[in-house]
């Protein structure tokens, strides 16, 4: 997250923001195109274009339109949601080390989805997004309530979040070993965070909700600047932040939880995207939020593409790649942020 000096950025930054957004959008488009072309079967660019325009045969249709297009779009969508969620949560908690994973939302959503899948196997497919949302919100609320006065003690909140996450993970392990028979591996692939086997139905099951929440978050982004000042200073300026704060938190939690519900725990995107975005455009949230969403989309869709392209036909789960990238990033943050005055300890 940006510190106070980048928050009050000069006009130079303001000019740069649109350029950054355009560049990132181009980057995302490239990743999406790669996502359609790369994999166990390589589709050359010309064929790809023909297929998208509807000029090619049914074989490419099946691979490109039926399988890769929804999957890549879903990767970008959930990545954007996770990036936004991370940016919102880091700002509200004023904690650069916070992320949906660290505060226990991901594990809560995962636990709820598994519970739902084992208790109601028939209705599981339809209920999954709902279960994920409930699980994420419950875990988030538990962390919130247990940590108490959360804005004032970032360390305590983080530890409580980690602890609640551990409890949820223990529950996930328990469900996995008691409830699954031979078909052990499907939930396991999902738990490592993978877009494998995701299609149009998955995309449509979360796209409206995620789209709506993201739009709402972007609309409210300018309010985050006030939130970032902290409750006391905002109150001194005559702004009441309670309700908005709650709304924004719920939006942040829901964005992450719904994403987990459909693609599993793709970790560290919510942590990395806001930091990268803050380096690019500074800390004003009207610029930061869309940038974080784009960065998140690139990271998630990119991890999926890389996982498919690195050693076909083996697919490496996107969650593994984001963790391999994100864990060192997190360590680097710990080493640098911790040394800064005013950072949470």
């Amino acid at each position: 997250m940006a510190d106070a000096s980048t928050l009050q950025s000069g006009p130079g930054r303001r000019l740069r923001t649109p350029a950054v957004l355009v560049a990132l959008t181009c980057c995302l488009l490239v990743v999406l195109a790669l996502g359609l072309g790369l994999g166990a079967v390589r589709v050359p660019a010309a064929t790809l274009l023909n297929t998208l325009l509807g000029l090619d045969g049914p074989r490419q249709d099946f691979i490109v339109l039926g399988s890769r297009l929804p999957r890549t779009l879903l990767g970008a969508l959930t990545g954007a949601a996770l990036g936004l969620s991370g940016a919102i949560i880091q700002s509200l908690l004023r904690n650069p080390l916070a992320s949906p994973k660290i505060v226990g939302i991901n594990s809560g959503a995962a636990f709820a989805v598994l519970l739902c899948a084992f208790l109601l196997p028939d209705a599981a497919a339809r209920l999954t997004p709902f279960a994920a949302a409930v699980g994420g919100v419950v875990a988030g609320s538990v962390v919130w309530l247990m940590a108490g006065r959360l804005a004032l003690d970032a360390a305590r909140l983080t530890l409580v979040g980690i602890a609640v996450g551990f409890v949820m993970e223990a529950g996930v392990e328990f469900l996995l070993v008691t409830q699954t028979g031979p078909e052990f591996s499907a939930p396991l692939v999902w738990l490592t965070g993978s877009l494998w086997g995701r299609g149009w139905t998955h995309l449509w099951s979360v796209a409206p909700a995620l789209g709506g929440l993201m739009a709402l978050a972007l609309l409210m982004s300018f309010r985050l600047d006030l939130q970032y000042l902290g409750p006391q200073r905002a109150a001194a300026l005559g702004v009441r932040l309670g309700l908005e704060r709650g709304m924004l938190l719920v939006i942040g939690v829901l964005l992450a939880a719904l994403s987990v519900g459909v693609v599993g725990v793709v970790g560290f995107i919510g942590l990395m995207a806001p930091h990268i975005a803050a380096r690019l455009v500074g800390g004003r949230h009207r610029a930061l939020l869309p940038t974080a969403a784009l960065v998140g989309a690139i990271l998630c869709a990119g991890a999926d593409v890389a996982g498919r392209a690195l050693m076909p036909p083996i697919e490496i789960s996107a969650g593994i790649l984001t963790a391999l990238l994100g864990a060192p990033f997190f360590i680097w943050l710990l080493l640098t942020e911790g040394r800064r005055p005013g950072a949470p300890r």
């Binding site: 360390a155 305590r156 530890l159 980690i162 602890a163 993970e169 223990a170 328990f174 593994i320 710990l334």
Partner: protein
């Protein structure tokens, strides 16, 4: 030093004597009860404690006696020794980091060791190296990384950064483990079962390896006990009394990594045992590490024996791996510690 610790005991003389006598008896009962239950249960209901006698008589002729000798006994011993090793590793780590939340699993040692083993399985060049050695080496690397992140080598460990660093190192190690079994399909099932801490397939050689480690670990912990006590007084006091805290840290991390690494190579990464056991021991036996070593070892053995029995007694079509049982106990415990800790103790 000795006087200081003696004065630490607030109890009267009579109560202290009673407590000193009651505690070992109670602990021993717990361990024996857990072992008996663990030995008496299993897949074959016709195998019971009575078959243990055949072992000492040296016959081992009947099927029941063989089952007891080759399957039940190694497994129970394994659980007991796992408890000793992990409990002591946790005790040492909590002392050297002066952090109640430290444990092998939370500082990344478990995951580092797991990575070492997976590397041994998939990298041809490492094929000849013993798994325990790889586990220990990578566990050491992991804990060194976590300590470096937390600032331990520059003299002051920050509590939150220690835990977050451990989580980051652990996440990295575990992502690499998962990458490993994505690449090697045959491994997947084996590794998955192993990563949740399953000791169902353990045989005598592994159990004895754990036992030897446990014995050496207890001796090493006794050797370190005085230093650990000094650490509790603070770095400066420790320095003043002639024990270099940095050296204590290194020695402690080394001993803990060896014990954890061997455990992981046998049973997979069992989380939270190293967290819970030392806390229980401290609640029962106070703060003197010379006493805590034995109490922790006993309690660890007891806890794991009971957990193993529980894993076999679980009413379902398959056993719950003992690691999962420990997690179900340990994760809420971690939460409870976080919640009850004073906000001021973040140092």
């Amino acid at each position: 030093m000795r006087q200081v610790l003696a004065q630490d005991r607030p109890l009267g003389e009579g109560a202290a004597v009673l407590r000193r006598a009651a505690l070992p008896c109670l602990a021993l009962l717990v361990v024996l009860g857990g072992c008996a239950l663990s030995l008496a249960t299993g897949g074959r209901s016709d195998v019971g404690l009575a078959d243990l006698s055949g072992l000492f008589a040296g016959s081992g002729a009947t099927l029941a006696e063989q089952t007891m000798r080759d399957i039940r006994l190694p497994r129970t011993l394994c659980a007991v020794f796992l408890g000793v090793n992990l409990g002591l590793a946790g005790l040492i780590l909590q002392a050297v980091t002066r952090n109640a939340l430290a444990a092998p699993g939370l500082l990344g040692i478990n995951q580092g060791a797991a990575l070492g083993i997976v590397l041994g399985l998939i990298v041809p060049a490492l094929a000849g190296v013993p798994q325990s050695l790889l586990a220990v080496v990578f566990g050491l690397l992991a804990v060194a990384a976590t300590f470096a992140i937390s600032g331990a080598f520059s003299g002051r460990i920050e509590s939150l950064r220690l835990i977050l660093g451990g989580i980051a190192v652990g996440a990295l190690g575990f992502a690499a483990v998962r990458l490993g079994y994505t690449l090697e399909d045959d491994l997947a099932r084996q590794v998955v079962r192993w990563t949740v801490g399953d000791i169902g397939g353990v045989r005598m050689p592994e159990a004895l390896r754990l036992g030897a480690t446990a014995l050496l670990g207890i001796l090493a912990a006794f050797g370190l006990a005085q230093r650990l006590n000094l650490m509790a007084l603070g770095q400066a006091a420790s320095h003043g009394l002639g024990a270099d805290p940095m050296r204590t840290l290194m020695l402690g991390a080394g001993v803990a990594s060896v014990m954890t690494g061997v455990c992981v190579s046998v049973a997979g990464p069992i989380a939270f045992a190293g967290l819970v056991v030392p806390h229980l021991a401290k609640a029962l036996a106070g703060a003197d590490h010379r006493r805590l070593v034995l109490v922790t070892a006993t309690l660890g053995a007891g806890l794991m024996a009971w957990a193993d029995a529980g894993s076999k007694l679980w009413p379902g079509f398959s056993e719950i791996p003992v690691g999962v049982i420990v997690s179900i106990i340990g994760a809420p415990w971690f939460l409870a510690i976080v919640l009850t800790r004073r906000a001021s103790s973040h140092g």
